[in-house]
């Protein structure tokens, strides 16, 4: 023991560091505010477990006894208070959490994984194409914003296809085709026969009237060049 006492004196180094904590600002009446807390806990039990919580009493004028009472109430709900702010130092006793100052607001990023059920098995990556092997009939609307849509058959007049990627139609396109709806300007529309009511890529559209009649009934593709839509025959 003596040996250790003789050893070089260890300097206690103090560093400042700020952390993120939940701030509770109780409101009057306290009873009502505690009911709100209870409602939150009923919806997601254990929500505050293990989370640092700071009590902001700036909006209230509580006596020492009232603060003690409030802290006890929170403790009963398994909410541990890390510190208190917005109150005169003389109101706090040594058994209470310390007074905090210099708090700054920030966005709390949710990193709660422990309350979730055990790690989900690795989910399959989302498919990035959709295949339809029957004609798309008038009145049907196919919306697939994750990628390409391929139709083995025709798209009827009054039907519409909305795709995040390109649209491929092995048949006659008589309805509406909207490709690249998520802002994908390089998406294209291909069809074996073009009689489309409307073509759109990344928000730029052409109606049937604007489509060159010489293209009608031929295989064609549509793409964007800058902000103009090009439609050209495929053979």
């Amino acid at each position: 023991m003596g040996a250790t006492a003789e050893a070089k004196r260890q300097l206690v180094r103090m560093r400042g560091r700020s952390y993120v904590a939940f701030v509770f600002a109780p409101e009057i009446p306290i009873v009502g505010w505690l009911e709100e807390i209870d409602a939150t806990l009923a919806r997601s039990p254990g929500f505050f477990v293990g989370k640092p919580v700071v009590l902001d009493l700036a909006a209230l004028d509580l006596s020492r006894a009232a603060i003690t009472h409030l802290l006890n109430n929170l403790e009963e709900r398994s909410i541990r208070v890390l510190g208190i702010e917005g109150v005169e130092p003389e109101k706090l006793t040594t058994s209470m959490p310390p007074l905090l100052t210099g708090g700054r607001s920030c966005v709390i990023t949710r990193t709660e994984t422990r309350t979730e059920p055990a790690e989900k098995p690795e989910s399959k990556p989302k498919p990035n194409s959709l295949l339809l092997d029957s004609p798309v009939r008038s009145g049907q609307s196919i919306v697939f914003t994750d990628g390409d849509v391929t139709v083995l058959g025709s798209v009827g007049s009054g039907a519409e296809i909305v795709a995040g990627g390109s649209i491929h139609i092995y048949g006659t396109l008589r309805g509406r085709a909207m490709a690249g709806v998520n802002g994908n300007a390089s998406a294209r529309i291909y069809c074996q026969k073009i009689e489309a009511e409307l073509l759109a890529i990344d928000g730029y559209y052409q109606t049937a009237e604007e489509i060159d009649v010489s293209l009608r009934n031929r295989p064609a593709q549509a793409w964007l060049q800058g902000d103009t839509m090009k439609i050209t025959p495929l053979n």
Binding site: S134, P135, V136, R137, S138, G139, Q140, G153, S154, G156, S157, G158, A159, T172, R174
Partner: protein
């Protein structure tokens, strides 16, 4: 094995009711027991075309609501003893139909008849949806014009998604029946051609019924055209279509009006 067949179109006035009556009578003539059901609640017509309007006591809605038994509402045809009609109510509307009630009636009819033909109302609302709901097969009546073809396309899409069969992952067998076809006008390009229609609908053809005064004449006397004038062009076309429904292979022709010798000699009057 009973078959439930819906006669539908989406568009009105294309000949659903006429076709239901004509096909029903043609199927019954071949010996099968047939019931035709009018789903056009509030605007019933099938009773008139069948010539049974003066014998309606109870109707589909009464049976759906359990007011009457099915046997009380069924009307036997006066000409064919194995042809029956279940009329619609004229005083109610389509909201009086319930999915459960229609299902119960169809299930009961399946035990009694070979063919159950459902005459769908126009539109895509409740009446039309319930008419197709329990169908095994569908006849889509189409006129050779763009509006009718597009509506038919829409109805085909619904047959593939809103029927009990579709919900079970099965397919409703679909047939296109082209009515009011005028070969002369089609030849002049004033009508959609048969090929155009079939290309758009991508559905097999059941028959081509030529435009004819015989259809109107038969409706006016309250008799299915296949019973009223058996030798007329539309009657022969409907009989051929009915045979195809029964699974026979019949050459697809467009029956033309038979013209007498004098008609042929003096067909057109010169100006």
């Amino acid at each position: 094995m009973a078959k439930v067949l819906v006669v539908t179109s989406g568009k009105g006035g294309v000949g659903k009711t006429t076709s239901t009556a004509a096909l029903g009578a043609a199927l019954a003539q071949s010996g099968a027991s047939v019931v035709v059901i009018d789903f056009d609640v509030g605007l019933r017509n099938l009773d008139l075309v069948m010539g049974a309007e003066r014998r309606v006591v109870f109707d589909l809605i009464n049976v759906v609501h359990g007011v009457a038994k099915l046997q009380q509402a069924l009307i036997r045809d006066k000409r064919l003893e194995n042809l029956w009609l279940l009329p619609a109510s004229q005083t109610r509307d389509k909201d009086a139909l319930t999915d459960e009630g229609v299902g119960r009636i169809i299930a009961e009819l399946r035990t009694k008849f070979d063919w159950i033909l459902c005459d769908s109302p126009a539109g895509i609302e409740r009446g039309a949806m319930l008419a197709m709901r329990y169908a095994d097969e569908a006849v889509i009546v189409t006129n050779p014009e763009v509006s009718s073809v597009r509506d038919s396309d829409r109805i085909i899409g619904m047959l593939d998604s809103k029927t009990v069969k579709a919900e079970r992952g099965e397919r409703v067998a679909k047939h296109v029946l082209i009515t009011r076809y005028d070969p002369a006008r089609a030849a002049r390009g004033e009508m959609l051609s048969i090929d155009d229609i079939l290309e758009i609908l991508a559905t097999p053809l059941l028959g081509i019924i030529p435009e004819s005064q015989d259809v109107l004449r038969a409706s006016n006397v309250g008799c299915p055209v296949t019973l009223n004038n058996v030798t007329s062009a539309p009657a022969r076309a409907y009989v051929d279509a009915a045979r195809r429904l029964m699974g026979e292979t019949v050459d697809m022709t467009v029956p033309a009006e038979r013209r007498g010798l004098m008609n042929r000699l003096l067909g057109r009057r010169a100006a």
